[in-house]
Each structure stands twice: as C-alpha cells, then as structure tokens.
C-alpha cells in the first residue's frame, strides 16, 4: 500500500469508525466484542484496500466482513460458552417510561435471535438497507432476506417479555403480518 492509499484508508477509518462501531455493537450486543469485531473487519479491509476500486462500496464491504466474522466467532465460541448466574450488563440504563421498557424488551429479545436473523434485523432496521442491499451484504437471495426477516420479527413478537403489556397498547401487542 502506498502512502496515498494509506492516508485514504486512515481518512476512511476516522470518518466511518463511529457509525460502524455502532453497527458492530448492535450485531454483538457487547462494546468489547464490537470493538474487536470492527478492528478485525477494518484490518481485513486494510489488506484489501488496494483492490477496492469503488470507495463508495467500502461500507458494504466492511459490513459484510463484520457479519461473516461475527457468525464465525459465534460458531467458535458456541462450545466455549459458560453459563453464569449473573446477567451481563447492558450498555444502556433502564428507564421507567413505557417506551423505553418496550425498547429494552426488544433489545433483550433481539439478543435471543440467531446471529444471522439478528444481522438481518440490524441491516434492515438500523442501517436501513433495502432487501436487495441486505441480500448483497449477506450473500443471499432477496427471498431469503424476506423470509428470514419475517421469521425474526415473528420470534420477536412471540417473546413473552413483549406480550406482558396491555393488550390495548399497540406497541405491546405487536401485530402479525408486518412487512419485512
């Protein structure tokens, strides 16, 4: 990598690491894992920087590496997980308002989704990618994005913590048939 390319990469990291770290956090649910995931993805991007002709497409490349790496980490760590008596600390505090209770419940339910489903939810609802863009990032078909996202939303709806509120409250009696 020549000096100009290295400077380009540095500029990209400075400009985009904040948003990408937030995406990594939503994928992992842990600040420490998010930083590690993002650093891994950016290191791979660094190695490929000279081959990435379209600088507009770098975000998509990094997202794809993050999702693939996150899935890989999950596969590796699955056998090393240890149950604990204490729930891990969440990044945000708990508010008393109904809105924030629901958001906390959604966040908790999101953590229970399979990694690929979680990734699709993050890409679709946080990154606001279209179904086609999400499919491109994940290397799957648009149909797969539709069906998987639909299944993820169905699981979120079924989560008991989301169904404990008033049935009159549209936010806590989450509807079926939401478009993915």
């Amino acid at each position: 990598m020549d000096a100009q390319a290295r400077e380009d990469f540095r500029s990209y990291v400075v400009a985009r690491s904040g948003p990408l770290l937030r995406t990594a956090y939503l994928l992992t649910g842990s600040r420490a894992d998010a930083e590690d995931l993002l650093q891994t993805a950016l290191a791979k991007t660094y190695l490929s920087w000279d081959r990435i002709r379209d600088r507009e497409a770098v975000d998509g490349y990094v997202r794809r590496v993050m999702v693939n790496t996150q899935t890989s980490w999950w596969r590796r760590r699955k056998v090393d997980e240890h149950p604990t008596d204490v729930l891990p600390e969440h990044g945000g505090g708990r508010d008393s308002t109904a809105d924030l209770d629901l958001h906390d419940a959604l966040w908790s339910a999101l953590a229970l989704l399979p990694k690929r489903q979680r990734a699709m939810v993050v890409l679709r609802y946080y990154e606001d990618l279209s179904e086609a863009e999400t499919a491109a990032v994940l290397g799957v078909t648009v149909g797969t994005v539709k069906s998987t996202t639909s299944r993820a939303l169905a699981k979120l709806r079924e989560d008991s913590s989301l169904l404990t509120g008033s049935a009159d409250d549209p936010r806590t009696s989450l509807p079926t048939g939401a478009s993915a």
Binding site: V13, V14, S17, G18, L21, R22, T23, Y25, L26, Q39, T40, L42, A43, K44, Y46, L47, S48, Y61, R64, V65, N68, T71, W73, R75, R76, K78, G91, G92, D99, L100, L102, H103, D104, L106, W107, L110, P114, K115, R116, Q117, V121, Y125, Y126, D128, G139, V140, T141, G143, T144, S147, T148, R151, L153, L156, S160, R171, L174, P175, A178, S179
Partner: protein
C-alpha cells in the same frame, strides 16, 4: 410500515447512540492486519530465502533440458541420488498428465504405494508437533468438526506436515482427516482467533500429492505434500517452460513461489526412476472460508445457510452416494462440484430415507431422497435455498413427511387436521427427527415441535405442514 418496524428502529437507534466512538480508531488496525497477513503467509516468509536460492540454481536448467538442479526437491529414499536420476522434461513423451489435471487435485497411475491411505498414512513431517503449540492439533480437529457439523469424536485427524514461522510463532499444518465418515484434507494456519482453514477439501482418490496455492506477502506460494517416498517434486511455470525443482522442506514436501500467470502452471511428482507419478495444474489460490476475499475458482466456502446440526440416524455410504448423485442431477451440475451435509438417515417399511443440505457455489438447499430397498426405485425432493437459522427442515416424499428439527428440539407432535389435538409422534431413535405417514389427501394437518423443555407455550414451530414445508425452504 407497522408498529414493530418503528419500534425496532427506535430501539436499535437508542442502543446504538449510547456507544461512544473509540478515542483512537486507527490504533491496532495496521498491527492486526500485519498479523493476519503473516498468518496467511508464514511459510512463504520463512521459505523466501530458500526460494530465491532455488530460482538462482534453476536458471541454468532452463537451457539444460532433462536435468534438475542439485538443490532440487529431491528426496533421498530408496532411489538413486538426485544427481544421477534422468528426469523427463516437459516435452518428453513420458510426462503426460496422469489421472487428469484437475486443479489442486491429484490424479495418478496405479502406484498405490505412493498414495495416501488413511489406514496407513504418510508419516508426519516438519516441526515437532509440540512446537506447533499446546493443543493446536486438537483445536484444529475440534474446529474441523464444528465446521462440518459433526461431533469432535467423529473427527479423526492425521497431521501430515507442519511448520512454525518463528518471528510470529504462527503454526501451519497440512492434514488429512476423516470427518463424519468423509475423507478430507486441509491446510490450517493458526491465528489469535483460532485456526484458519485456508484449504478444506475432499481427499482426492488416489491422493498422490496434496497441493495448495496459498497467499503470500509478495507472491503466492505453492506447497505440495506427497509421500516421503517420491523422489522429486517439480514446478512448471507455464506450458512453454521446463519443470524446475521446487524447494524441499522435508522428504515429500516442497514449496515454490508462484509468479506470473498461474493459469497454465503445473507441478508434478516423480518416482526414483524418473517416471511421473502425478502431474496437475496448480490449484486456485486458497483463502479462508467466509472471507469475501476468496477468489473465484477456490473451493467454495460453506454457505452461511448451512445448518450446523449433527447428523441424526445412519446413512450408509452407498445410499449417501446415490442421494448425492440424485441431488447433482436434480441441480443440473456435475457431481464433483457438489458439496453436502448429511442431516438425517432412517429406514422404515422397506424404504431408506436421507435428508441433506447440498450446495455447489451459492446457497445450500435441502434435498430429501428415498429409495425402495426391494426394487431400488427412488424419489426425491429439492427445496428452494434454505433460510438462515431454520427451526426445522421438512420434506414430503410421496406419503411420508420427513421432519428434522434443530438439535434443541424436544418432542414432535402431529395432527391429521386443524381441528384435532396434536399427538406426540413416537420416538424413532433419531433425536426428534421423525418420519410421519401423511396421505396426500391431507391439506390442513398440523405440526408442533417443542423445544427441549417441552414448553407448549414456546414451541420451536407450530403451524400447518404446508407452512413447515415452506419454512424449511
């Protein structure tokens, strides 16, 4: 737009905004990138000085057909010394491709003495295994099992060649293995996050030489692992050039840098009489699966929609082969391009059943196969690409419904129509994977799959059979 869409967006945004940016986002990236690069190329760094020496000594050979250099990858075995062995040049009639020049694979003559037999494998060569790191071989075996969705006990790994890049302490291991009954070979490189499988392929038959083209810092490198009894390993950079000796790393193991156009580059192994045991084109550049840098032509990575469930039930080899052949035929691709993961096997009422996921480059698809033991007639069903993270895979073969739920599943219940209470399907000894009689006239039957806790309020799946069939696609 529905309320859950808005709430999801709001919840994710709220969580994301509490994450402060890193104070120094650049810190560590270049260092980690350098470590990754070293992981992938450790041997080329270590061997570059040797490679340069080999190239220098090989230069005169370009004008001396039929000879090899004294510093060649010739291995003292029971054959004559390197300097006295007549070696056919690339234009010699005695050097035709033997067994077909499939990239990265090996063909071969009937020289079974040189072929890898996992019942009596080649001896391990290279750095002593303890130098590769505590538990490295065991870790690679375990990760290989995870990668292929089989228990660690179903992986029998045979180390073939190993080395350690001293400055970075990066271990490399070429190995053969039986993975859930399938013979494979691979090349793993250690990294901070665990072994990285830069090669993971079915073991060719016969396996006379295992070749991997690996990324390098400056140029890629070719590593060939063969029987320690082969006399020479040579490299032909293109069709017009003569074969030159590769740099020997151990008896039957050699490397060479890959420069220029690799499309027509090839390698070959010779026996002590100078006869060509195997000749093949250089395989496509290897890469870590799951990494979007994997170039076209490399062994396709395992698709992300392949489930990592253990196999339930038994699948005899002959049945497996026919099921795979049927999948390839139905998919319209040559069987050698097909990769599968066997998920279920059972036999009932004179029929044998198999459920697998198969792929040949894109997403994996579920494939169900059955055959009548008496007359051999078969039936099969190919699904659309499997959605990632399915709760179950289901298929309908004539009047039998195959249901293979995720490993966490407990009991499977079935009702012949929507108005009936689902009844538990009797345990069939295949860990919740079951066969259910289902006359074709049924249209509103219901399937219920409970999780391991058996909580009917939180089933893994509840819906019509039609929905189950759709959900497994």
């Amino acid at each position: 737009m529905s309320p859950i869409d808005d709430e999801l967006r709001a919840a994710l945004l709220r969580r994301a905004t509490v994450v402060p940016p890193s104070p120094d986002p650049l810190a560590g990236i270049e260092r980690r990138a350098t470590r990754m690069r070293r992981n992938r190329v450790a041997a080329s760094v270590a061997g570059s000085a040797l490679a340069v020496a080999a190239v220098v000594t090989a230069v005169p050979l370009l004008t001396t057909p039929g000879s090899t250099g004294p510093d060649s990858a010739r291995f003292a075995s029971d054959g004559p010394s390197a300097s006295t062995v007549p070696t056919p040049g690339p234009t010699a009639p005695s050097a035709p491709p033997t067994g077909g020049p499939t990239p990265g694979a090996t063909g071969g003559s009937a020289t079974s003495r040189y072929a890898l037999d996992l019942d009596a494998p080649w001896p391990y060569r290279g750095a002593p295994l303890p130098r590769l790191g505590d538990g490295t071989v065991e870790t690679i075996a375990r990760e290989l099992g995870v990668r292929h969705g089989v228990e660690a006990s179903a992986v029998d790994l045979v180390p073939l060649w190993g080395q350690v890049d001293e400055p970075a302490q990066v271990a490399e291991l070429a190995f053969a293995a039986t993975v859930g009954g399938e013979q494979r070979w691979g090349y793993a490189v250690s990294s901070g996050a665990g072994p990285e499988f830069v090669v993971d392929r079915p073991l060719p038959v016969p396996a006379l030489a295992l070749a991997a083209a690996l990324p390098g810092d400056e140029v890629p490198r070719l590593v060939v692992v063969a029987s320690p009894e082969v006399s020479a390993l040579e490299y032909g950079p293109d069709e017009a050039s003569e074969f030159v000796a590769m740099t020997g790393l151990a008896d039957g193991v050699a490397t060479t840098p890959l420069e220029g156009d690799r499309a027509t580059a090839s390698y070959r192994a010779l026996d002590a009489s100078g006869s060509v045991l195997v000749r093949a084109t250089v395989p496509a550049l290897a890469g870590a699966s799951g990494d979007p840098e994997v170039p076209a032509g490399a062994e396709p990575p395992v698709p992300t929609n392949v489930v990592d469930w253990p196999r339930r039930g038994a699948v005899p080899d002959d049945l497996r082969d026919r099921a795979v052949a049927a999948f390839a035929q139905e998919a319209g691709v040559p069987v050698e391009q097909v990769r599968v993961r066997l998920l279920f096997g059972a036999e009932r009422d004179g029929r044998r059943f198999v459920l697998l996921q198969g792929w040949y480059g894109g997403d994996a698809r579920a494939f169900a196969y059955s055959e009548d033991i008496a007359d051999g007639t078969s039936a099969y069903a190919l699904s659309d690409p499997t959605a990632p993270g399915p709760s179950l895979l289901a298929a309908l073969l004539d009047d039998v419904l195959l249901v293979v739920p995720e490993p966490a599943a407990g009991q499977v219940l079935y009702a012949p129509d929507a108005s009936s209470e689902p009844q538990a399907v009797a345990d069939q000894g295949t860990e919740a994977a079951v066969l259910i009689d289902r006359p074709p006239t049924r249209t509103d039957d219901v399937l219920l799959v409970l999780d391991g806790d058996g909580d009917p309020e939180r089933p893994l799946f509840r819906g019509s059979v039609e929905e189950a069939l759709a959900a497994s696609r």
